[in-house]
């Protein structure tokens, strides 16, 4: 008897109308995408998009790179990268150095449109729309290529059971590469999408700034505090908070819809391996799949999930920092932050490990691909300062963090460019170590009960394994030495914190800790409590 998906009981909870409309609109938009008809068109457009991206990158990094190259401190990899960019710029703009900048190119484009009677605002809007359209086309292009390759791969690997197993096979290297290209294109599209959606915010923001400038001109004695207060009130009046929230929502929704679309396509490729699914069509399957949703939620509900508001806040900070890092390297090493969150659906243990591994893994992945020289330092400081937003930092923590900054800066200023990048990576790792320790310490001070559990979760071999993972990721790069050293420092730091907290917990449990007592056990216990806080 043939299997029929339409025999599955119908979902009793229909999708809400708004959601359905959003999904439908998205799929309509997808259908409208027109891909190139020939391979030549395809290649040419991709090349143009790539040049646009490199032009943006060039514009961003060239001032720093020029300084570094002039100083003779650039490492071979950085020098090669910059020279490639310069060669690209030359290709795009010819030998005229005056024109060899994206700014000059944008200016030429602006003049061309201005001659057609378009205002600056219209030109800027057109430019944004064009970039977004290009990036949308690029990600769809790579998505099609990947899905086609994936379907072909499944045909010759019918017993493939999971994506992880799939990517172990030698012949899957090309497929994996295609997927990386697809994700790179999708990220670039989302960036352009957000940029275009932010136009309204930028306009309002500019109006606010104009009024602030006017206020300062009319009243020179106005204080910074008063200006800040005025800025807040003006932003409220112009509806900026709401506008920002709206953009954030639209970007988040677009991101989720892209994820949904891509995974649906993956599922379709898998489903098409089965003759019964082919006969029925995927639509019927999709219409009945929600049926088991509550069972899956039930499975999740059975798994203990112990996450407090503090850990939730920490996780969010880690994710924000992760978002700042970006790049392929971070995608590899930084997969750990999201592991820390989503695997939390499965187990509390994984969550705790996720926090620790997020911190360490992110440190290893950060900086290598994107951050160069002084920009790298600045970004790292900004990144680390995100951790500083945590309400639980004590003066001691800040003092220690400050010392680490100085150490980082000092080393970076003495070292070569590539080594600087390594120190940035290390600095983030150290900060991550603080972060992990802080979680433990905070828990210790507020409630001793969960501490032992946390210590057990992150202690011993697991923490060691996390460090090994972080260093192995970084080890693929020439910066491995610096990362390894400092990752070990961070690990040692964390281990010391764990040790003190464990002792403090034991002291509390045994009632050995009495204020003012001169008994050696009490003195030791007080010392451990103190160290548990100071160390972290």
């Amino acid at each position: 008897m043939a299997f029929s998906f339409d025999k599955l009981p119908q979902n009793s909870a229909p999708k809400d109308e708004q959601r359905r409309m959003k999904t439908d609109a998205f799929h309509e938009k997808q259908k409208e995408e027109k891909l190139s008809e020939t391979q030549e068109e395809d290649t040419a457009r991709l090349e143009k998009i790539k040049l646009d991206r490199e032009a943006e990158l060039f514009n961003t990094v060239s001032p720093t790179m020029e300084r570094v190259l002039a100083s003779g401190k650039a490492g071979p990899e950085s020098r090669a990268r910059f020279e490639t960019l310069m060669a690209r710029a030359k290709l795009m703009f010819g030998d005229n150095p005056e024109a060899s900048t994206p700014t000059a190119r944008a200016e030429a484009w602006r003049k061309e449109n201005a001659e057609l009677g378009k205002s600056d605002k219209q030109i800027q809007s057109l430019r944004r729309a064009e970039r977004m359209q290009d990036e949308r086309w690029a990600y769809k292009n790579f998505e099609n290529k990947y899905l086609e390759a994936y379907a072909a791969h499944l045909k010759v690997n019918p017993f493939e059971r999971s994506r992880r197993e799939l990517f172990k096979t030698k012949e899957s290297v090309e497929l994996n590469k295609l997927k990386d290209e697809y994700y790179a294109a999708r990220l670039n599209f989302l960036r352009q999408f957000e940029d275009k959606k932010s136009v309204e915010i930028e306009e309002k923001q500019e109006q606010v700034y104009a009024l602030l400038r006017e206020a300062r001109m009319k009243n020179e004695s106005i204080s910074d505090v008063e200006i800040e207060d005025l800025r807040t009130r003006l932003e409220q009046e112009f509806g900026l908070p709401e506008a920002r929230q709206k953009v954030k929502g639209e970007v988040a929704m677009e991101r989720v819809l892209l994820t949904k679309n891509f995974l649906e396509q993956n599922n379709k490729a898998r489903a098409e391996r089965f003759s019964y699914v082919q006969k029925l069509g995927f639509g019927k399957l999709a219409s009945t799949l929600n049926r088991l949703g509550s069972n899956i939620q039930g499975l999740m509900d059975k798994v203990p999930l112990k996450i407090g508001p503090r850990v939730g806040k920490v996780l969010r900070s880690v994710l924000i920092a992760s978002a700042i890092v970006g790049g392929t390297t971070a995608t590899t090493a930084g997969s750990l932050p999201v592991t820390g969150v989503l695997i939390a659906l499965i187990s509390a243990k994984s969550l705790a490990m996720g926090v620790a591994s997020a911190a360490v893994g992110e440190g290893a992945g950060a900086g290598y691909k994107k951050f160069i020289g002084q920009e790298a330092q600045q970004d790292a400081q900004k990144k680390i300062s995100n951790y500083g937003d945590l309400e639980s930092w004590t003066p001691n923590d800040l003092s220690k963090k400050d010392k680490e900054y100085k150490k980082l800066e000092s080393r970076a200023s003495e070292d070569t460019l590539d080594r600087k990048t390594a120190w940035v990576t290390s600095g983030v790792t150290i900060a991550a170590g603080f972060l992990g320790g802080r979680i433990l310490s905070s828990s210790a001070l507020e409630n001793l009960a969960p501490v032992k559990e946390l210590v057990a979760l992150v202690g011993g071999g697991e923490a060691e394994a996390l460090i090994e993972h972080a260093t192995s990721v970084a080890g693929s790069a020439e910066h491995a030495a610096g990362v390894v050293d400092d990752a070990k420092d961070a690990h040692e730091h964390l281990s010391t914190a764990v040790h003190h907290i464990a002792n403090a917990t034991e002291a509390e449990k045994s009632h050995h800790y009495y204020e003012g007592s001169e008994h050696p056990a009490d003195i030791d216990a007080r010392e451990d409590m103190l160290q548990a806080d100071i160390t972290t």
């Binding site: 299997f3 029929s4 025999k7 009981p9 999708k15 809400d16 959601r19 790539k50 991206r53 490199e54 994506r163 992880r164 994700y183 790179a184 294109a185 999708r186 990220l187 960036r191 929230q245 988040a252 991101r255 989720v256 994820t259 949904k260 995974l263 649906e264 599922n267 898998r270 391996r273 089965f274 399957l285 799949l289 929600n290 049926r291 088991l292 509550s294 069972n295 899956i296 939620q297 509900d301 999930l305 996450i307 806040k313 996780l315 969010r316 994710l319 924000i320 992760s322 978002a323 700042i324 970006g326 392929t328 995608t331 930084g334 997969s335 932050p337 999201v338 989503l342 695997i343 939390a344």
Partner: protein, 104 residues
């Protein structure tokens, strides 16, 4: 909207807590759909022909959720792994699009 602890944590992780409740709910539902669909595909793939036939018969009897759940647990040994694989795939995909800087 009433959120389960899992959903609440997911919202925080994805930095969505400042969005409107409608948008939050919509995004969560989309993600739950993805998990459901991906898991179901994997479960079906794990069933051999006789098991699939049995499954079909069970569905013909207007089986309850509990019965379907029980059948899957009994006849599909790696059912939990199917769920785990789906979540891993979703996780990887989300990660790939939460990074802000990417130029190749």
């Amino acid at each position: 909207m009433s959120l389960s602890p899992h959903q609440d944590d997911l919202l925080k992780a994805l930095q969505l807590e400042e969005l409107s409740p409608t948008d939050q709910e919509s995004i969560l539902l989309e993600m739950e759909d993805l998990i459901t669909q991906g898991t179901m595909i994997r479960l079906i793939a794990l069933m051999d022909e006789p098991t699939l036939t049995q499954f079909q018969k069970l569905l013909d009897t207007e089986a309850s959720e509990e019965q379907i759940d029980g059948f899957i647990k009994q006849h599909v040994p790696d059912a939990d792994k199917a769920l785990q694989d789906t979540i891993e795939e979703l996780r990887d995909d989300i990660l790939a699009t939460t990074s802000k800087e990417h130029v190749e």
